[in-house]
């Protein structure tokens, strides 16, 4: 039995037939600088169910075949952002990628995300990624201390809702061809987190962030390839957010909705 028990949906027929499992081949790009000169691809056969996730497959390998296989994971349901990796050439979270959604007639290729220094197996150095994040001043900057909450209308709150979903998994940034060739580029995730504050009606430092992103390594490096939007496991429209930041840089001011408050 796999770690995650398999279960038919509420409307599934009441048959007692055992649930079918499959042998799936994963080919994983392994590397440990302590023992290897360069990365190598290693095959593993794993018995899996259709509803298992790639994370389950990696755990089965680590727990039953080779304990040295190394990867990050924590929540296992797509909210902590630990396990972004390249699965069949696409950036995804291992815990949100189900076997049934992959073609298992062929081997599944798994490797670390690209563009960040490879540390070991599926683990990369996240420090450059977080350094870019920190550079866009990703925190609310507002003067004065209100007596209670700062008032914000439903429409104003809605304006930046999409970019508040970011879990900093780096799937977007490490899917960006510009980032692969230019590690200095801020990358989509940092711009998404700048967007989250630029379009927040309570924030007063939009111009500071727009100036930062008007830099040569800022938004203008974006070539609108949409890889980032496709990679985002939270469904954030990353390319759209970048486009909105570009527009705000040109206009000099973000289009934050006017207050449309209903009086109490």
């Amino acid at each position: 039995m796999a770690e995650s028990a398999v279960l038919e949906g509420a409307s599934a027929p009441a048959d007692e037939a055992p649930i079918e499992s499959f042998t799936v081949t994963l080919i994983i790009r392994r590397f440990d600088s302590e023992f290897d000169d360069e990365p190598r691809w290693v095959d593993y056969d794993v018995e899996l169910f259709a509803t298992d996730r790639i994370l389950d497959a990696l755990h089965k390998i680590k727990w039953e075949q080779d304990g040295s296989l190394s990867f990050r994971r924590s929540c296992a349901h797509g909210v902590c952002g630990s396990d972004a990796m390249r699965i069949n050439g696409r950036n995804r979270l291992a815990c949100k990628t189900l076997i049934k959604d992959l073609d298992i007639s062929k081997p599944i290729y798994v490797e670390a995300i690209k563009g960040l220094p490879l540390e070991k197996d599926l683990i990369v150095d996240m420090e450059p990624f977080f350094a870019s994040y920190r550079e866009v001043q990703p925190f609310l900057q507002a003067s004065g201390k209100p007596e209670k909450e700062r008032i914000q209308s439903v429409a104003q709150r809605e304006r930046f809702d999409d970019t508040t979903k970011c879990i900093l998994c780096a799937a977007c940034t490490s899917s960006c061809p510009v980032f692969w060739t230019d590690g200095q580029y801020f990358g989509p995730a940092a711009i998404v987190n700048a967007h989250r504050f630029i379009f927040d009606s309570r924030d007063e430092a939009a111009q500071v962030r727009l100036d930062i992103l008007n830099d040569k390594e800022g938004v203008w490096r974006c070539r609108t390839t949409f890889n980032c939007s496709e990679a985002c496991p939270r469904g954030i429209e990353v390319t759209k957010a970048i486009a909105e930041v570009k527009a705000a840089v040109l206009r000099g001011k973000p289009d934050v909705p006017k207050s449309d408050l209903v009086s109490a």
Binding site: D32, E34, F71, C80, I123, L140, D200
Partner: protein, 598 residues
């Protein structure tokens, strides 16, 4: 021993900080935001801060803001006490409910994007056990950001740590607390941590230490908890022979995705979702006629298990019940409950918009933990403070949750008591001197790491862990009996013996997660034993601890906290040879225990 800050001696790096915080979830980062600007502060965290499990919390954070209807902190206090089945320390609950209001406003002022009312204020929704005027009807008290309130809290706290320049040691596992004998008493003098990236050992000498390490839900198989919630912090405190309080009380959240345990927020029921059995009956009407599906979690979880046990479960194996959200409409689901809607679609292939979702209780939250007073100071017995040692959040037991925590009170707890811990630790550190480190403070961790890395036995970590988790699910879950607890006691003992024969395959020094899983299992085994031993001793049913063989609450004999102490050789066969239990009185202020009806 003496050293310069940053010195490397025999391969060990020595650091000095006024305050060291272990853990970077909600409680740890809230503490850091207070302590950081005041004194030299470090946060040691086994995960990047934004990976912490606070981020998985969904539904909301309680505070009697009265933004959408009449409410008061006194009602909130009462609900917390009653929800905890009167095992709550009422002075602490009052602080929690009073300070809730500022805790929410603090977060909003820091930037948290709460959902808003039409007037632009923080919106509030209903949640289990939170009522108007002492139980008359559900009240809208939970402040929320869609169904990712925990995510927004974690992000907001991290953002503010970035703003303040808080120093993080990311992916450093704290594996020991160094104690130094001062005037005949053991005092904490530092933390020893293992750096995941390199395998290097670091000693952090500190004037004050704050534990904010979260829970240990991974003692169970079916759990909403992250893989990393292995109770390392609580386990270290235990091994240092400091007590643990109320460990028998574990919360099983009613609505885990069936078979998987992934959390579906109680906020779904707050928005109007209904639990149904196989015949479509809204069974909670029978058990809690006034607030029905919004009864506290312990009650709802028990009712669900009972429905299944009595043959009214749904599905081909009649082994779950259904969470019906279909009448809420696509818009409410997409805007107020988008994440859980996606979880059901992704992991079960069930679309909550058109069909009910299979759910069963999932191990969720430890009410018990490291005993503290309301100042977040750790206790070495019922009343004596360990100077300079603090704990906050799920790893701590204040006790604001008693025997059953109300939903939305944990996001509150981490903010209220995280802030108190940070402020009090900073104040302490300003006047305290460093407690000297003993000679070779890293000795224990160096030996632990080396012996574990070199372990070449025959037992696989994963098999031992799987057996522990499965047996805990079978025998120490929603319903327990002396027989079931005796059985799992045996299992734990045999697993502890087999743990001596483990093998670790990864012999490397870099990112050795194989080694860490082995060490984590050691903590899980220790804590599971304390949970079960404490549970066997409490021969009554209260809150999250339901004894089938003692189905009634017994205030005369058991309205008191359990205090467990490690007093012998932890490897002895009989847990009674090394665990000693004592009691601690419950603080009662305004509310005398009553029968708990909803």
């Amino acid at each position: 021993m003496d050293f310069e800050d940053g010195a490397v001696i025999d391969g060990v790096t020595y650091h000095q900080y006024d305050v060291v915080i272990v853990g970077a979830g909600g409680a740890g980062m809230r503490a850091a935001i207070e302590a950081g600007p005041q004194v030299k502060t470090a946060v040691i965290t086994k995960l990047y801060p934004t990976r912490s499990h606070t981020g998985a919390a969904q539904g909301g954070m309680a505070a009697a803001l009265a933004n959408v209807e009449e409410d008061s902190w006194e009602w909130h206090t009462f609900d917390t006490v009653k929800g905890g089945d009167y095992l709550v320390d009422q002075d602490a609950a009052e602080i929690l409910a009073k300070e809730a209001i500022d805790a929410v406003l603090d977060l909003e002022n820091m930037g948290l994007p709460f959902n808003r009312t039409p007037e632009g204020k923080i919106d509030q929704r209903r949640f289990g056990g939170h009522t108007r005027d002492h139980g008359k009807a559900p009240v809208r008290r939970a402040c929320y950001a869609a169904d990712r309130t925990g995510h927004m809290i974690l992000q907001t706290l991290f953002q503010n740590c970035v703003k303040l320049g808080v120093e993080f040691y990311n992916e450093y596992y704290a594996l020991d607390m160094v104690m130094t004998e001062v005037d005949g008493v053991e005092q904490p003098s530092g933390i020893v941590a293992y750096e995941l990236a390199t395998g290097a050992i670091h000693v952090f000498q500190a004037k004050a230490i704050i534990y904010a390490t979260g829970g240990f839900g991974k003692v169970y198989k079916t759990t909403s908890n992250a893989h990393t919630l292995t109770g390392d912090g609580v386990g270290i405190i235990w091994r240092k022979k400091l007590p643990l309080e109320d460990m028998e009380f574990f919360q099983f959240h009613p609505t885990g995705l069936a078979g998987l345990g992934i959390l579906l927020t109680e906020g779904a029921r707050g928005e109007g979702a209904i639990l149904r059995n196989a015949s479509g009956e809204r069974f909670m009407e029978r058990y809690a006629p006034t607030i029905k599906d919004l009864a506290p979690r312990d009650i709802v979880a028990r009712c669900m298990v009972q429905e299944v046990a009595e043959g009214r479960g749904a599905g081909p194996h009649k082994d779950y019940v259904l969470l019906d959200c279909t009448h809420l409409g696509a818009e409410v689901l997409e805007t107020k409950l988008p994440d859980i809607t996606e979880f059901a679609r992704t992991y079960l292939g069930v679309d909550p918009v058109v069909e009910p979702v299979p759910v069963m209780p999932t191990a969720h939250y430890a009410m018990g933990g490291i005993p503290t007073n309301v100042s977040a100071e750790v206790l070495r017995d019922n009343t004596t403070v360990v100077p300079g040692l603090y704990a906050a959040g799920e790893c701590a037991c204040v006790s604001v949750h008693g025997s059953n925590r109300l939903g939305t009170n944990s996001l509150l707890d981490i903010n209220v008591f995280g802030k108190r811990a940070g402020n009090n630790a900073a104040a302490y550190a300003k006047t305290a001197e460093f407690t000297p480190l003993p000679e070779d403070p890293a000795k224990f961790v160096r030996e632990l790491v080396e012996s574990t890395r070199n372990a070449t036995g025959t037992e696989r970590i994963a098999s031992l862990r799987k057996e522990l988790q499965e047996e805990m699910d079978k025998n120490a879950q929603v319903f327990r009996t002396d027989e079931s607890l005796a059985k799992v006691t045996e299992t734990i003992h045999s697993l502890r013996q087999r743990y001596q024969q483990i093998s670790v395959q990864d012999k490397g020094h870099r990112y050795n997660t194989d080694l860490l899983e082995a060490i984590e299992l050691g903590f899980l085994l220790d804590l599971a034993e304390v949970v079960v031993f404490s549970a066997r001793n409490r021969k009554e049913s209260r809150g999250g601890h339901m004894r089938d063989d003692f189905p009634k609450r017994d205030d005369e004999n058991y309205m008191k906290h359990t205090m467990a102490y490690l007093t012998g050789d932890p490897h002895s066969a009989d847990a009674a040879d090394h665990i000693t239990l004592d009691w601690k009185p419950v603080v009662v202020t305004n509310y005398q225990p009553m029968e708990r009806k909803y």
